[in-house]
Every structure is written in structure tokens, then in C-alpha cells.
């Protein structure tokens, strides 16, 4: 009986975990505040990308290379695609083995609202990264990140 319960419990964990891996969280206007709150006192990077942005793939490939150097909460990925493209975004994340990261996808028919909620000064170009220090002072970067640049930040903060 106990054995059965253990098996059932394990199953529950395994099944629900594997299911959770296939879920990009919907990103709303308040989502960044939530992401920041969950990382109080910790440094992290937010990377915005899109399925329809060839340079973003380079970004995903670089993140795949360096993902083990991030702390558990050190990397947040937000797909700036409409949520109806969740399947395509998920497929790419899985391909680049980034599906276990903290993944989000834009969920607002008016993406301008979400862009504004992230950064009123961002024009929407991709890829776009925000580097947060421990006190959550942040700086931004537009276009692909360089490996050395990211490594330097990782060494200094993670």
C-alpha cells in the first residue's frame, strides 16, 4: 500500500513536472514586477526574444552554452511573441535546452502595453536584455549579446 502510494506520488511529481516544462507562463503588464519580487536581493538577466527574429537564435544558442553558469533564478526568458505562438516558442526553447528556465510569453493583444510595462524607453527591437544587479539597478542591451560580455557579468555576479 505504502509502495503504491509512493509510486503514485512519484508519478504525480514526474507527470506534473514534465507537464510544467511544457508551459510558458503568460506575461502580463504586472509580470515583470512579479519576476523582480521573486528575486529580491539577487542579480539576474532578463532576455527578450522572438520566434521570428533570426539573431535571437544566436542569443538562445549562447544562453544554452552558458546556462549552467547562471544561478537558479539568474536567467529569465520572455518571448515577445503573441501567446498564440506558444507551441513554436516552446519547440525552440526545447531545441536549445532552455525549457527549464523561467520562461514567459507575451499575452496581450497590444504588445505595446507589455513593452511599456517592461521599459517605457524600449522601442521593441530584439533581442533585448536587462542586467539586474543585487539592488535591482539595471542596464539594457539591444541586439545579440557577446559571449565575453555575458561571461564577465556572470563572473561578477553569479
Amino acid at each position: 500500500m505504502i509502495k503504491k502510494s509512493v509510486i503514485a506520488l512519484t508519478l504525480l511529481v514526474v507527470c506534473s513536472t514534465s507537464f510544467a516544462e511544457n508551459t510558458l507562463k503568460p506575461f502580463y503588464s504586472g509580470s515583470l514586477a512579479q519576476i523582480e519580487k521573486a528575486r529580491k536581493g539577487q542579480a539576474f538577466v532578463v532576455v527578450l526574444w522572438s520566434i521570428d527574429c533570426p539573431p535571437c537564435l544566436k542569443e538562445l544558442a549562447l544562453l544554452q552554452q552558458l546556462k549552467d553558469q547562471f544561478s537558479e533564478v539568474g536567467l529569465v526568458l520572455i518571448a515577445a511573441d503573441n501567446a498564440e505562438y506558444t507551441d513554436s516558442a516552446q519547440a525552440l526553447l526545447t531545441e536549445f535546452k532552455l525549457e527549464k528556465m523561467d520562461n514567459w510569453i507575451f499575452a496581450d493583444s497590444t504588445p505595446e502595453r507589455l513593452r511599456y510595462s517592461i521599459d517605457p524607453a524600449w522601442y521593441g527591437e530584439l533581442p533585448r536584455a536587462y542586467f539586474y544587479d543585487k539592488s535591482h539597478q539595471r542596464f539594457s542591451h539591444s541586439g545579440s549579446l557577446k559571449k565575453a560580455q555575458l561571461q564577465k557579468w556572470l563572473l561578477a555576479t553569479q
Binding site: I7, A8, L11, L12, V14, C15, S16, F19, T23, P26, Y28, S50, D52, C53, P54, P55, C56, L57, K58, N82, A83, E84, L92, I105, F106, A107, D108, S109, T110, E112, R113, R115, Y116, D119, P120, A121, W122, Y123, G124, E125, L126, P127, R128, S142, G143, S144
Partner: protein
């Protein structure tokens, strides 16, 4: 032992799916987040017929006697419909591609429609092929006023599963049909030879038999940006001009302009750099320019940049005579302003763009009556609370309309002529 395990897993999964589906359903009906589907009551009915209001990215053009022709994408089809009352009501839609296919239909990628002088209806779009960022340029025509369409043809001769996308269409003075698109074949070739190749290339094809067939594909240019629509217009003599975001050395993504040759040889001295903002980015603006040529063959340009020299939405006037862009000025440098469109109407020039205003998106215009030197204060001509497509200009004789498709309102025509 395995079977019950699998069953349990499946059951759990089903419960999860049910939960997620409910959540998604709530999402769709509750706050309309994350979907571009129409919110009009007529479109929510299961038996809703294809229409420009319910479909995606409707693109319109006025024909003789003010008849409006609209193409749009819905359920894997491109449809054509017409309206005799400037878009208030539409005739039943006619399918252009009988066999459904995956279609790029997201604003920067939309079907195109051009009308020939003898009533020909030319329609193009990009078919999404299985690979990533890949697509084929598709074309179909009707010679009977839109009653029937030819079986669509693929215009790009390179059939690799790579990008042949963002097509634009124009006619010239002889009624020849031009299709110009972004093509990745040279980048792939360079990669195979282990050579670097910035951006991708532009290819085009010309039909001189009313779209029955196209002559061999020609290269227009190397090193264009890979994900921005191409603007096209005719000059006063009816020659075709294209404007696109180019990749200049060091990844500077400013714009280039060129006449497109109907012959099988490129035009000397083309392309010419048309904007100089020094926007260096290894990224994807996904934000193409717009172009309108006046009677003196000056090209009025509207574009988006985030360069060292200029930021936001810009206007400028390019003159082929001295190959210079003058009167460069900021239309709107707000980060939430997008999709600038420009249109010459006689001695007036109009600009139009979208901008976030709190929770809503406004459609703004500005006018110049002195050839682009001075501009009126932005004026809001429409607004919407939900998703919105790129705006576009529609010209009927001396009347100018903005066409704008929004989730909540459907396709609207807004008169802007004073």
C-alpha cells in the same frame, strides 16, 4: 506494471489539459489577452463566414468607380471581397487559393493586391514552408474581375526550405507585374562555402504577360535586413522604386533605395543609401519603411530607427537628382510609436502612425502643405482598446483614407482628406 503507470500519467495529463484549456478559454473570453482573433460578435459565431472583419491582415485597394477590393487571410486561405460603400458592407468572399496552406499573416507579412489597367486582379502572399523563417512567394491572378483565380504559383525559383518572404508587389508603366522579396539563398550558399554574409538578399521577378508567368528571378541587392517589409511605389513615369532596410558595414541597419529594372540587368548606380541614422544592431527591427513618390520624382520616406543620430519615427525626402535625403525630421520619438506610413496627395503630404496612449492605441496623422518642410500637430483619427494591425493608406481619386483593422472594430476606413 507499465500500463497502469501510463494510464495514470495520461489521466493526470488530461486533467491538466482540461485545466489549461479552461484557463485559456477564460483568458480568451475574459480579457482577450494573447490572441489577435477578432472580438466582433459576428466573428465569434461558429458559422461565421470569411470576412475582412473576422480574418487577418486585410489589405485593400480602390478600383474604378470607388469599388473597394480587399484581400485577407483566414483559415489557411487568402480571400478576396469587394465593397461598394467604402467598407461598410462587403460582398461574399471569394477564395484565391482553393487548397489551404500556412500563410504568414502578421502585419509585416500580409497579402498584397494590385489592380491592372484592364481589370486584372493580382494577389500575392507568403506561404509558410516547414522550416524556421522559411517561406515561398505565392501569386495568383484573376482576369474575370475576381470570379475565378488561377491556381497559385510559387514565384521564387529557389525551392530550398529557406526564407523567401516579405514579398511586395507593384506594376510599372507597361503593366508589368513586379514581385520583390527577401531571399536567403545567397546567405546559405556563403555559409556552405564557409564565408560570412551579412543579412540576406533581395530578389525579384517580372511578369510581362499579365501574371501568366514570371521571367527568371533576378537579384536586386546583397545584404538586406532579413525581417522587414519592402516598400514599393511607382515614380511619375511609372517606373518601380523599392526602399528597404539594408545591412551596411558593421551591422548598420539604415535604408537603401533603388529603381528596379524590368530588364535582366541591374541599373547602374543603384542602390543608393537613403537614410543615415547609424543604427548599429545585430538584431531584428521587424519594422520596415514606407515610400511615396511625388510628381517631381522625389521620394517621401517614413521609417523607424534607433540609431546614434536619430531615434523613433522619421520622415525624409529623397531626391534621385542629387541622391540626398533632405528635410529629415522626427515624426514621433516615443518608444511606443510605430508603423509610420507616408502618402503624397497632390501638393500635400500625409504621415500616419500608431501610438500607445495609456491603455489604448491611437492612430495619428500629420500633414504638410509645403513639400515636407513643416508639419501639422499630430491629430488622432481613430483609437482602439485591443489588438490592432498596421495602418495603411488608400487613395481614391483625390480622396485619401486610412485603413485600419482592429480586433474590436474590424476593418475601418477613415477619411482624412480635408
Amino acid at each position: 506494471m507499465m500500463k497502469p503507470l501510463l494510464n495514470t500519467c495520461a489521466a493526470l495529463l488530461l486533467v491538466s489539459i482540461a485545466l489549461v484549456t479552461t484557463a485559456q478559454a477564460k483568458m480568451a473570453h475574459g480579457n482577450h489577452k494573447g490572441s489577435n482573433k477578432s472580438l466582433l460578435a459576428e466573428c465569434l459565431k461558429p458559422a461565421a463566414l470569411p470576412s475582412p472583419n473576422c480574418g487577418r491582415v486585410p489589405t485593400a485597394v480602390f478600383g474604378p468607380k470607388g469599388k473597394l477590393y480587399v484581400v485577407f487571410s483566414q483559415h489557411g486561405h487568402i480571400y478576396l471581397t469587394t465593397s461598394d460603400d467604402k467598407g461598410k458592407t462587403f460582398q461574399s468572399s471569394i477564395v484565391v487559393n482553393r487548397k489551404p496552406e500556412r500563410i504568414y499573416d502578421d502585419g509585416e507579412n500580409r497579402p498584397k493586391i494590385v489592380l491592372g489597367k484592364s481589370g486584372e486582379i493580382y494577389v500575392s502572399w507568403t506561404h509558410k514552408t516547414p522550416g524556421r523563417y522559411s517561406g515561398d512567394v505565392r501569386f495568383s491572378r484573376s482576369l474575370d474581375g475576381g470570379i475565378t483565380f488561377n491556381t497559385p504559383i510559387t514565384v521564387n525559383s529557389d525551392r530550398a526550405i529557406i526564407s523567401h518572404r516579405f514579398e511586395s508587389m507593384s506594376l510599372d508603366e507597361k503593366g508589368r507585374v513586379y514581385l520583390i522579396w527577401i531571399d536567403k539563398r545567397d546567405k546559405i550558399k556563403a555559409k556552405e562555402n564557409q564565408q560570412k554574409y551579412a543579412g540576406v538578399s533581395l530578389y525579384y521577378a517580372v511578369s510581362d504577360n499579365s501574371g501568366e508567368s514570371f521571367r527568371p528571378n533576378q537579384k536586386l541587392v546583397d545584404h538586406s535586413c532579413e525581417c522587414c517589409r519592402i516598400a514599393v511605389d511607382q515614380d511619375s513615369a511609372g517606373r518601380v522604386v523599392a526602399l528597404w532596410r539594408h545591412v551596411y558595414p558593421d551591422n548598420i541597419r539604415d535604408h537603401a533605395i533603388a529603381y528596379v529594372s524590368p530588364e535582366n540587368s541591374p541599373i547602374q548606380g543603384m542602390p543608393i543609401r537613403a537614410t543615415d541614422d547609424a543604427w548599429q544592431i545585430d538584431g531584428c527591427p521587424h519594422h520596415g519603411p514606407d515610400l511615396s513618390i511625388d510628381s517631381e520624382n522625389r521620394a517621401h520616406l517614413a521609417w523607424f530607427t534607433q540609431g546614434e543620430k536619430n531615434k523613433g519615427l522619421m520622415y525624409g525626402r529623397f531626391d534621385f537628382k542629387n541622391e540626398k535625403t533632405s528635410l529629415v525630421h522626427s515624426i514621433d520619438n516615443s518608444p511606443s510609436a510605430s508603423r509610420p506610413q507616408v502618402q503624397v496627395m497632390g501638393d500635400r503630404i500625409y504621415l500616419m502612425w500608431k501610438k500607445l496612449n495609456g491603455e489604448q492605441i491611437d492612430l495619428l496623422i500629420s500633414r504638410s502643405s509645403d513639400e515636407g518642410k513643416n508639419w501639422s500637430k499630430p491629430e488622432m483619427i481613430a483609437t482602439t482598446k485591443n489588438g490592432s494591425d498596421h495602418p495603411d493608406w488608400l487613395v481614391h481619386d483625390d480622396e485619401l483614407y486610412a485603413s485600419w483593422h482592429t480586433q474590436s472594430e474590424g476593418l475601418r476606413l477613415i477619411s482624412v482628406t480635408e
